[in-house]
Symmetry: C2
């Protein structure tokens, strides 16, 4: 029966124990040799005679011995009278010393040696927060009566956004990798009303930035029978709170990353896009928020509302995908409504959510009437027949609906304040990288 390192601390002193794990560190002192063992639960100290042969770091071993109280040992219990048995061949020297408190390596080293360097307790903790986030995401939505779905990653045409798609040879004919489950999650609102999907999305992003990947995990949500995008935002608020509650439960991982966890306000503050432009001193006819605008808005939300989160609603319709629902009212103040640039027809029931001044989520209400689709697609100079498979659901009765998508890696990156999204992605894929 194996004892985990973490459980050694509550083992009765004198008990015979068997531990299994990696040689985290060897320390050879004059009178004694220490082997620090690492497993998924933590570390344990193993005491061996001076001069004992200890396998190289990262070798997997089985240690049998006696649990012994020791004021010096981490957790107060160590293993003495230990026998160390190799579970594999002696390990090669790791690309960095994993036993040091911080993993101080360059980004290329981290990525080239990902299978080994993710073992560092502080690095591994970052993914543990990602896994907790997924758990919190699903638990929140399951409690709200959402159904998990899976949608195809092979799609027939590159119609959704047109740009930046990957082409596949699909049994001799062209196919594309889905850039998002958007069209499918909408169709499935027609079946289940409330759906979510966690899956890979593929973006042939030709630019090399600290926040883009060619493949990332999208946490997609879509729900029917809403009044407008504010109902979507309310679900997003609960989802973020649920994700953070699950993250907070991972106390050890949070401590190892040093993450400062945000608090999700009962209501996330919302500003209209036109107000946002005013707040940052941008011209009223700017069609989008630049990264420096987002940063300024993040600072404003923190100062004004004490919130790490800020929703910007009412983005210009023409900057959003064709399925975006036009503006129907919301909180737009009378003053703003009068401004020329903000004629309601130009605005939309869509939002971005900024987290610490970076766009984290895009969402909003979608069109649901077939005639609206027809008009919106024609207005972009396209032929509705191209979208026939998608529009089938709408011709057969769809409710008012909307949704959002959260990028998992971007979420974790902001949570632990990583400089580059690749640092929080297990095996990132980008313009240059396909391995490991």
């Amino acid at each position: 029966m194996r004892t985990l390192c973490h459980d050694l601390t509550t083992t009765t002193p004198g008990a015979a124990v068997t531990l299994e794990g990696w040689v985290h560190r060897r320390r050879e002192l004059a009178r004694v040799t220490f082997l620090v063992l690492r497993d998924r639960s933590g570390l344990a100290q193993v005491v061996l005679p001076a001069g004992a042969a200890v396998p190289p770091e990262e070798t997997t071993v089985r240690v049998t011995g006696t649990a012994t109280a020791s004021a010096q040992a981490p957790g107060g219990v160590e293993v003495t009278e230990a026998v160390v048995e190799l579970l594999t061949e002696p390990a090669s020297t790791p690309p960095a010393e994993l036993w040091r408190p911080a993993l101080d390596v360059s980004l290329p080293t981290l990525l080239d040696h990902a299978p080994v360097l993710w073992r560092h307790p502080a690095q591994r903790a970052r993914w543990e927060l990602a896994a907790a986030s997924l758990r919190g995401f699903r638990a929140t939505l399951d409690a709200l009566d959402f159904t998990e779905v899976t949608t195809p990653k092979f799609v027939e045409s590159a119609t959704e956004s047109g740009a930046n798609v990957f082409a596949v040879d699909y049994f001799g004919r062209p196919a594309y990798l889905a850039q998002s489950p958007q069209f499918y999650k909408q169709q499935l609102v027609g079946v289940f009303e409330r759906v979510y999907e966690v899956g890979p999305v593929f973006r042939a992003e030709p630019h090399d930035t600290v926040r883009h990947l060619a493949e990332y995990r999208s946490l997609d949500v879509e729900l029917g029978f809403i009044r407008d995008h504010r109902d979507v935002l309310a679900v997003l608020r609960d989802v973020l709170a649920g994700m953070l509650a699950a993250v907070a439960d991972e106390e050890s991982a949070v401590a190892r990353t040093g993450a400062r966890l945000p608090v999700v306000p009962e209501e996330i503050p919302v500003v209209h896009f036109a107000e946002a432009l005013e707040l940052v001193g941008a011209p009223a006819d700017e069609p989008d928020l630049a990264p420096e605008h987002e940063r300024a808005l993040g600072a404003w939300a923190l100062a004004e509302h004490g919130s790490d989160f800020l929703a910007v609603e009412g983005y210009p319709l023409l900057k959003r995908p064709f399925y975006t629902h036009p503006w129907t009212g919301g909180i737009l103040s009378a003053d703003t409504r009068q401004s020329e640039a903000m004629a309601p027809t130009e605005s939309s029931n869509s939002f971005d959510l900024l987290f610490r001044g970076v766009e984290l989520v895009t969402g909003g209400q979608r069109l649901h009437r077939p005639s609206d689709y027809d008009r919106a697609i024609r207005a972009r100079g396209e032929d509705p027949r191209t979208y026939d498979a998608y529009l089938q659901a709408f011709r057969h009765g769809m409710p008012p609906h909307g949704g959002f998508a959260i990028g998992l890696e971007r979420w974790v990156g902001r949570l632990v304040e990583a400089a580059n999204i690749r640092e929080v992605t297990l095996f990132p894929r980008d313009l240059h990288r396909l391995a490991p």
Copy 2:
């Protein structure tokens, strides 16, 4: 405040209610018109005056009225004094009458009109069982201290199995879509010890069968510090029990599919491959089990052990992937061990799990010593350098480990005894189909 159809049954008669959903059925009688409303929770009966205009079936509507006890209404409560408001334009005639108890359509019709025909309560129930299965899968593994991971779907080479991979134009150079997360989940055992992933896998299957898809959901599990494949099988047993418990909780969906739920025995019966060949009367030198052998073994397990599940262990090593661990003992009886064909070196610590006579799961113990990989790869006439990124983890210390993969669609297909795997896949992808 919206009342769900299911909750109408517990609404105080006389209360004002608002329901939203789809027009499931219109029934115009001489003295009264019924509108049956459908939402995610079920159906509700709405009473309207004779001759009232009722929108076509599948139109989404809001109904306001009064909850009224009625012995004739399903659930004992119906909506009277109702006002019906359209939420979209009147729906086109559906491709089948969704209000009929059974959805009696051909497979091509089902697939061509998937976004609409999945709305049928009996069809939708099939996916509800899939979603419950995912929930049970994760809950079981979370409780066993597994970490959810995500692994890249873009891979650099087609080395894992060689055949049936999809090629992608990856920023001007070739890449492939992952056929399984096998290599990555193993590497991540080196980080987290116990991992799982639910994700799409891509198989360029050139054959058109009732049980193959070009894209399906693989439920992948891998764990370290095992003794042999029997430890893997024990986790698989718990996972299946957890999936079935979650399915059983979906009483309404189970009833709508008519599924007969199996019971997972405390220990799944196991036979060695050589014994399996004997049981079905196949020659002792057969290298694999044919579908008719699997069916016969399924019948045998039911008759002999009262079990819908049967594990076959000890498959010939040469029929398994190169990373498969050779046979190390297990239950092989002395008699079988003596047979020429079953020299221990030819057998492996791998298994298939048959569910109702069909292969559902493949799993086993993997190699973990770097020198074993070197030997196994060379034995297949390949160069270990081709696998350099993968082998990095092994050179730096890996524990004895193993795992398995369950095909979600195949699981649900067997559960509801569907004739074709496409019937239980939301939007199947195969040799011929890329839409909807």
